[in-house]
């Protein structure tokens, strides 16, 4: 993924805390939003039945309006039923509390049948957010307290997901450490064929883990110093201008020698041993990383962006043509990040989960057609000929997934 100016923000706990505060403070405050306040006191309500709120989206004298048929319901399960009567400018409705999206429906358009989502709500002040409406925030009150507290709020589920994902990244880097060790053994022995095989085995670990790339930085280095940028040191491509002060090393330097030169030189051996060293450092770095839910979402979207900008273009593995191996690694990494968010996201936007599930299946099905157990890395080489004939098909498969993943971060904040 490396470019000369990698985006870097540190995923240290201190930064996480600060960012979370900033986000909360600067959220969507465009209109009429009563600040979240203490829940009204009063008797518990909502036992037994489900409350229903009908939300009408309609063009009223030239302005699109978002109008619920009631502004207050008792605590408990609430079904929101949304019908777009004639508001061409409104395509989504969200239920928000404390700047957080609790539930959402998209793809609303005049003429379609009503859609619903159901949430169990505790007492408090909420808002309906209807982007595009003349008054886009509508206050909504829930009175009393839910008979039973909702089990496992979306946020607590998401928080658990980030821990699962952190463990996944650690595992991938551990396995990469083993794999580059094997690569190094072959390189130091001058065995080109074995080294190529080992290279193909090691690559996917990096491609899966590089969603967390902004955190791949050694402590104590300023952001602009590539000597402290482990992504630069491990994954820098020759096609990108090289930082003369730091030089060029890493996976792709080894790749060039093995495939273009077809031989192991003393330089190759140096690249390889440097790679082992730097992956070892990366192990230490990722063990300390912590993530917010939106980091997983942004990371997953970033991996799919990588697929489009580096793999389908054939830039990543310009000597070995193992781009489809990396492609599969990026997708797997994105899928893992998504899987960590999925249980929480399902409570917030079940439709998006359904869409994403289908899109991952579709991308995997496309990728499966390129599998070749006899090829290095398990995929057909992405030759210039294959790129010419198939890149449009691969793009068509990956773009919808990218668009959907890009919509996740705002929902899991």
């Amino acid at each position: 993924m490396t470019t000369t100016s990698p985006r870097r923000w540190l995923l240290t706990p201190a930064v996480i805390a600060a960012s979370a505060l900033a986000l909360t403070a600067c959220g969507s405050g465009s209109t009429g939003g009563a600040a979240p306040s203490a829940a009204p006191t009063g008797a518990a309500a909502g036992e037994g039945g489900i409350s229903t709120v009908n939300i009408s989206l309609a063009n009223q004298s030239g302005a699109d309006a978002c109008t619920p048929d009631k502004n207050s319901v008792p605590a408990g399960p609430v079904t929101f039923s949304i019908k777009n009567e004639s508001a061409a400018g409104i395509t989504e409705v969200e239920l928000i509390k404390d700047q957080r999206i609790l539930g959402e429906k998209e793809n609303l358009a005049p003429g379609l049948d009503p859609v619903t989502f159901t949430l169990t709500l505790d007492g408090g002040t909420y808002q309906l957010y209807c982007p595009g409406a003349g008054t886009d925030h509508v206050d909504f009150t829930v009175t009393g307290a839910a008979a039973a507290a909702p089990t496992g709020s979306a946020q607590s589920i998401l928080a658990q997901g980030t821990k699962d994902y952190a463990a996944y990244v650690v595992t991938q880097v551990d396995q990469m450490n083993t794999a580059v060790g094997e690569l190094n053994t072959a390189v130091q022995a001058g065995n080109v064929d074995a080294a190529k095989q080992a290279y193909g085995k090691a690559r996917p670990y990096y491609e899966r883990a590089e969603s967390a790339i902004e955190g791949f930085v050694l402590p104590g280095f300023p952001p602009e110093d590539n000597a402290g940028n482990l992504d630069y040191l491990i994954d820098m491509r020759e096609s990108t201008p090289v930082d003369a002060a730091v030089g060029w090393s890493g996976f792709h330097a080894v790749e060039r020698d093995l495939w273009q030169g077809g031989a192991v030189t003393d330089e190759t051996k140096k690249y390889s041993s440097d790679l082992v060293t730097n992956v070892g450092k990366l192990q230490g770095v990722v063990a300390e990383l912590e993530y917010r839910p939106e980091d997983l979402a942004n990371g997953a979207a970033g991996l799919i962006e990588e697929v489009q900008s580096g793999k389908i273009t054939g830039e990543e593995e310009q000597f070995s043509h193992l781009d489809l191996v990396d492609f599969a690694g990026n997708v797997e990494g994105a899928q893992q990040a998504y899987a960590s968010l999925r249980p929480g996201l399902e409570q917030i936007d079940a439709d998006l989960v359904k869409t994403l599930d289908g899109q991952f299946v579709s991308v995997q099905a496309t990728l499966d057609t390129y599998r070749d157990p006899n090829a290095i890395g398990g995929f057909k080489p992405y030759t210039p000929e294959l790129q010419a004939s198939d890149s449009a098909k691969l793009t068509a498969a990956i773009q919808p997934l990218h668009e959907s993943l890009a919509a996740v971060a705002q929902k899991v904040v």
């Binding site: 986000l23 600067c26 959220g27 969507s28 405050g29 465009s30 063009n59 030239g62 777009n84 009567e85 004639s86 061409a88 400018g89 395509t91 793809n107 358009a109 005049p110 003429g111 379609l112 982007p131 595009g132 939106e294 979402a297 942004n298 869409t355 289908g358 899109q359 579709s362 068509a396 773009q399 919808p400 668009e403 959907s404 890009a406 919509a407 971060a409 705002q410 904040v413």
Partner: protein, 437 residues
Amino acid sequence: MDAGDGAAEDSVPQQPRQPPEAVATGTSRRGLLRGALLGGVGGLVVGGAGGAVAGRTLISEDSTDAVNLGTKYPFYGQRYQVGIATEPQRHCLFATFRLAPGATTRDLQVLLARWSAAIAVLQDGRSVGSVEPTSPLQPPRDTGEAHDLSPASLTVTLGLGPSVFGERFGLARFKPALFSDLPPLNGDFLDPKFTGGDLSLQACADDPQVSYHAFRNLARIGRGVVVPYWTVLGFGRASAGEGQATPRMLLGFKDGTRNIKTDDQMAQFVWIDKSDQPWLDGGSYQVVRKIRMLLETWDADRIGDQQEIFGRDKAEGAPLTGTKEFDHPDFAARDAEGELIINPLAHIALSAPENNGGVMIKRRSYNYTDGLAADGQLDAGLLFISYQNDPQHFIRLQNRLGANDLLNEYIRHIGSGIFVVPPAPEEGHYIGEALFA
């Protein structure tokens, strides 16, 4: 240029079918005055004679060539989709899409509803969602490049290809008997890269950036359900509406002198009415042909030959049997040696309604260029778009032209598509809603 040199020279100016609205309030996201300032002003040239302010000289008081960028067209409540009878705008982005392999009937339904709503907003000169969302984590909904541009008379016309009515979506019972893929036609030189498509969008405007913005955002809304297939960006309208001077296509001749212009002609030849599919009444069939022109060889052809090929003179556009553009061609007139003055294989002779059982088609074409071809030649031509209430009208004309037209030496039909354009929806509804009832 192509088929259907329809007889319209006697036409009486008509009221526009969809009264355009000049923006006069501050509700638009786009600036208003840019268009208004130009309204009523003719062509401006830079550096002309006359010493006008800042070197600009007004060379014409002719208001027919003026553009008011504040003009906008309504989407809902029209009987017909706009972009057919609408006075041709200066630029047009034509695009076809293929439905993704996994797309379902429900996906298609939601797409048509989302596209309809978005087109209504776009034609109104607004953004399709926020350009700058309040959440830093949200990608902008609207791509933003038309954020402060005027509506520019944008019209987006949505068409459905024959494949939509196959078994795949369970919509076969809605397919009109007249509608199927175009058969192979005389003169076809089709490149699969520019042929066919499941859906079409024709986004025309007086500002090409407004056209492109509409296409780009609609394509984005469709991501996952449709994949853009082929697109052509047309410039310099090559057809005229009522009250517009006849423009020229890249061969330098006027195009569309005898185009359909009146309501009566539209009713007779363009709008589907009382068909076997009542939901399509008020619709039309859209035929699109990407016609490459071999400009370098044409440019070196002698004027006598060029004029014989068309059957008209070049500057005035008069038939060779007349002196003025709108003189009626006399296909029987002979010269002193007894030769027909208009070659029977001339473009206007083969396509004239009187030589085709009275049939006319509505043409709404644009010039295009794709830059340079691999061999270094200019890669350009005509984005031919026609509307008719029976595809056979186009098929008969093109088969005749494709077999015999003298012009064929200089043109190649490299792209093709046919779509049916349903009627416009009422407010609260969407294009094609009847398919999902």
